[in-house]
């Protein structure tokens, strides 16, 4: 884990943790088997989950030996690790996550069933268990400040399941003309005891959990601060790593100032641009698909997966590293990014790039810069000012009904916020496919976009 340990010492240091991890998974599956048997009366599933629990017990026994040969049977084989590392890049990671989430969305009626979701949880846990015997994987997952993000992934998975489970059930009921579940049996009850006891139990549970967490895991404290020793990588706190990841694609004034402000403004605007009166006070997807998908794209895809990538997969020099790859500070990645103006003037028109003379008057300089960046500037104006009306025209199915119901100003605000959000994936795609650096590059005035 720390580079100073041999592999055997590393295994000895984690075998105790890993053993209790597998035993905990085993107990979980045992309890679920009992639930299936006693509550659902489903003996076949009870047997299946008991067997899974038993397998976890055996795996726990194997890892408790701390022996490298034995543990290799319960870890990801090197060949597969190398395959995963070789395949993982920002493009495969981002598009892969998007594809998986979209596939889950399409097939939500199948995977929200408790047994399918339970299978998914087991797969996640077993993937973690099999991977932790890898030094590099353990180093990124068990770093104290990274533990909350592992927790965040599981919590988000659980709550996304719970919300989707309820939404699927409600959508089915609504399709049959019934009321959503939240509207049934919804008389008023006294807050004492029905709510205050729930709150009390949550408080006690959370206190116990925090105490346990604080005892088991020491808060990180590195060497005293030194303004001359720059660590590599230098990372912002984890909740800002999505923004730091955007620095790969944007200049700081966009990634660090404009876009965060747009995110905040966009979040605040949600209640005022979502005119849909349905879906207020109950879980549903079908009644508000556009709002749901837009929010999930912004939150799960752009915010959370970028944080996960920034935390776990970005190493020295902000280079990308696979799950099982050693963070090597000497890893070299080719960076031959070009600007749109370069593509247009040099590669397409075979002309030299128009360059203003620093001695020119301000107006002349600006005109020359405008000429140089004309494609990018016109493209940007078209994107934000002309594309929204185009999308609202009759033949376009998606946005036209929105425009009809929202009116011009609200529609333009909504469309522009939407298009702002879309600039990030567009910039990513342009980078991956064309090595595009900036659509507009005006270093003279620090304006690069």
């Amino acid at each position: 884990m720390h580079g100073h340990l041999t592999y055997d010492e590393f295994l000895a240091s984690i075998s105790g943790f890993l053993c209790s991890y597998y035993l905990a998974v085993a107990v979980m599956n045992g309890l679920f088997a009992v639930y299936q048997w006693k509550v659902n009366g489903n003996q076949r599933l009870a047997v299946v989950w008991s067997v899974v629990g038993l397998v976890c017990v055996i795996m726990g026994g194997i890892v408790s030996s701390g022996d490298a040969g034995m543990i290799s049977y319960v870890s990801v084989p090197d060949s597969i690790k190398n395959m995963i590392d070789a395949a993982m890049m920002p493009v495969t990671y981002s598009l892969g996550t998007l594809a998986i989430l979209f596939a889950l969305f399409i097939t939500r009626e199948y995977w929200v069933k408790p047994n399918m979701a339970w299978l998914g949880l087991n797969l996640m846990l077993i993937f973690m268990g099999l991977s932790i015997a890898d030094v590099d994987f353990a180093a990124i997952v068990m770093k104290p400040d990274n533990v909350p993000i592992v927790g965040l992934i599981f919590l988000l998975a659980f709550f996304t399941w719970l919300a989707t489970y309820k939404a699927v059930e409600n959508d089915r009921r609504i399709a049959q003309g019934e009321l959503p579940l939240e509207a049934i049996d919804n008389e008023k009850v006294l807050v004492w005891p029905d709510l205050v006891y729930t709150e009390l139990i949550c408080m006690v549970g959370l206190t116990a959990f925090l105490l346990l967490w604080a005892i088991v895991l020491q808060a990180p404290l590195e060497e005293p601060a030194s303004s001359v020793k720059t660590p590599n990588p230098s990372k912002a706190p984890w909740y800002f790593l999505g923004l730091q990841e955007m620095l790969v694609y944007y200049d700081p004034w966009m990634a660090g100032v404009m876009l965060p402000n747009m995110v905040v403004a966009g979040l605040m605007a949600i209640p005022y641009i979502d005119f849909n009166k349905k879906g207020n006070g109950y879980y549903t997807i079908n009644e508000r698909k556009f709002a749901y998908l837009t929010f999930q794209f912004g939150f799960l895809v752009l915010w959370i997966t970028l944080i996960v990538m920034g935390t776990f997969l970005r190493g020295p020099n902000w280079n990308f590293f696979g799950f099982y790859e050693t963070w090597d500070a000497h890893k070299v990645q080719a960076m031959n990014n070009v600007d749109l103006s370069q593509l247009f003037w040099v590669d397409l028109l075979h002309q030299p790039l128009p360059r203003p003379d620093p001695a020119d008057p301000f107006l002349i300089k600006t005109l020359i810069i405008f000429k140089r960046e004309v494609i990018g500037i016109l493209g940007l104006i078209g994107y934000f000012a002309i594309l929204p009306p185009l999308l609202a025209m009759k033949e376009k199915r998606l946005f036209q009904p929105l425009y009809r119901r929202m009116g011009l100003i609200r529609y333009m605000v909504m469309a522009n916020l939407f298009l702002w959000m879309a600039t990030l994936p567009i910039k990513m795609l342009a980078r991956w496919t064309m090595d595009m650096k900036y659509f507009i590059s005006i270093p003279e005035y620090f304006i690069n976009f």
Partner: protein, 258 residues
């Protein structure tokens, strides 16, 4: 002789502290919510499905509880901590190695991480149940500001241990401010703000300087972040929290199907 519990509850002292009898019957369960200071944030009654744990996830409540945990542990930490370059790091070392109840900083740090996560989950739930829709639009806006304050609280606290993790995370984070349009010395348009050939926006007068109190993360920054972390932002957050809770009541309680 009546049971001891009854003697205590009927004593003058008990009655003077608690303004209501034990909440064992319907009438007193209503009275307790109206007459107890801590409970009067709640309504007397609420929709059964609205307060179901599987509906609310209790994430707003959990976040508020974590805010209280952070306040209490934070006050205790302030007893042991001096925000100067000379002492900050060694005070943390002493806190870890010498002071009894040595998990104080752990509680505070993990609680802070947990609070960021629970705020997000609360927002996630509120979105997925459409609870920001009328009449609750403005409370959602307040919630977004509170989300921002939570992140800023966590960010300012990150610097205080004054270790490598702290100083460089804050350096990376605050470097953004120097690229702010017009207000940062490397931001677009900042050159336009010059009078008689003298730049108004330099690295000693821009947004980053205002945030750090210096050209780089140093003694002044530590002081500034300490005050922001312990006084300014918590006060702002407490005020907005009060309005946030008050608006829940005024906007019709926890959301439920119309």
């Amino acid at each position: 002789m009546p049971p001891i519990g009854e003697i205590i509850r009927n004593s003058q002292i008990w009655k003077s502290i608690f303004r209501h009898p034990a909440p064992v019957d319907r009438r007193n369960r209503i009275v307790v919510m109206l007459t107890n200071f801590f409970l009067h944030l709640h309504p007397v009654s609420a929709k059964k499905q609205g307060i179901a744990l599987s509906y609310t996830w209790c994430m707003g409540g959990v976040t508020f509880f974590l805010f209280l945990v952070e306040t209490v542990t934070g006050v205790l930490l302030m007893f042991y901590y001096r925000p100067t370059i000379e002492w900050a790091y060694s005070d943390i070392l002493v806190l870890r190695d010498v002071t009894s109840l040595g998990i104080l900083r752990e509680l505070h740090r993990w609680g802070a991480h947990a609070m960021v996560i629970t705020v997000w989950l609360h927002m996630y739930r509120v979105f997925l149940t459409g609870s920001y829709k009328p009449p609750r639009e403005f409370n959602w806006v307040l919630g977004v500001i509170l989300l921002l304050l939570t992140l800023l609280l966590s960010f300012t606290g990150y610097l205080l241990p004054w270790d490598q993790l702290a100083i460089w995370a804050i350096t990376v984070g605050s470097n953004m401010a120097r690229a702010a349009p017009f207000l940062g010395h490397e931001g677009p348009g900042s050159q336009l703000l010059s009078v008689g050939g003298i730049d108004m926006i330099t690295n000693a007068s821009d947004a980053r300087f205002g945030l750090l109190g210096a050209r780089f993360v140093g003694e002044e920054t530590l002081n500034r972040f300490y005050i922001l972390h312990c006084i300014a932002i918590p006060l702002g957050a407490a005020l907005l929290l009060a309005i946030h809770f008050w608006r829940i009541r005024k906007d019709g309680g926890i959301s439920s199907p119309m």
